[in-house]
Symmetry: C2
Subunit: 152 residues, 2 copies
DNA sequence: TCAGATATGTAGCTTTGGCTACATATTAAT
DNA sequence: ATTAATATGTAGCCAAAGCTACATATCTGA
């Protein structure tokens, strides 16, 4: 066997230097997903309980307060939240914006899945993972589908 | 302001000790997603070029060969692949199984998105992220939708 | 008020998934 | 058969996200 393989169907030569079809699941993407989860949760906590505390976020995510505290620092660095020692967490303008976008997207995905007959609980659960990977185009397709359903 | 917040709507007291609604995006889940990506790519490389080399996997993922080599070691530890120094990578029985499941699921998601009118390229791209978060139930709903479409 | 409960912070460890730089093996070509 | 190109491996760095253990601050209730 050669290092480059003797291509069967593909093309012919060794390394056609294919442009990597997808940079994809980079570390960065992942941490951005986490950022979205955080701002979504923070916004929700503020809306429903009046404020967002580290411990609440931790409970929601099922991680320890230490993890949350450290991540909050990162989000602060990135300008999404503000926080002071022993105080509750606030969203900056851009954090607000991101949380709203995320929430809207999240809801669309949930509604869409439910419209397919997926049980509510499952839809909510799946949406949390799916929402981060739905492009504008796909989201629009979801909305279109929902509208068709609605008008039918 | 109290540490526990004065709940508005939620319930009442401070920390109702809500069971964390979702363990979710744990580190483990993430590395499992990566495992699936790897076995999918490895299976595809074997199918299309005859063998899977570290460098090919690296090109497909858009990462360096070092990252791939280390991850392959992990997958080997986990019993999904076998590999020997300077040799190509093989899937174990369970690696095979996982790759097939992943591929099937991937294809279903792509077909489903396309059936919604999402452009092929976008569907493929989105599917890569979405496929890891689609539960059995949701997948079944996708299939059902596809069948209805087909018979319509 | 002050003591106990709860929340937050800090130190430090682990694994994972990125990377560069450099060494070595393998393959391919002359 | 050597050499040059390519692939693989190793060492070691980084950041993120998880953890436990322990210290400190804040809040609440008696």
């Amino acid at each position: 066997m050669s290092a480059s393989a003797a291509p069967a169907s593909q093309k012919a030569k060794s390394k056609p230097a294919l442009p990597h079809q997808h940079p994809r699941r980079t570390r960065e993407e992942h941490s951005h997903e986490i950022a979205q989860d955080y701002v979504e949760i923070i916004a929700d906590l503020i809306a429903t309980t009046g404020e967002a505390r580290v411990i609440d976020v931790a409970r929601r995510l099922g991680v320890t307060h230490v993890t949350v505290a450290r991540t909050i620092k990162r989000l602060q660095r990135e300008g999404l939240v503000t926080s002071l020692p022993y105080r509750s967490i606030f969203l900056t303008a851009s954090g607000q914006k991101l949380s709203e976008e995320s929430r809207r997207r999240h809801e669309t995905v949930v509604d869409f899945l439910k419209s397919l007959g997926v049980p509510k609980v499952v839809a909510q659960s799946d949406a949390e993972g799916i929402e981060h990977h739905v492009s504008q185009e796909t989201l629009r397709a979801f909305v279109k589908h929902l509208r068709q359903r609605a008008s039918a």
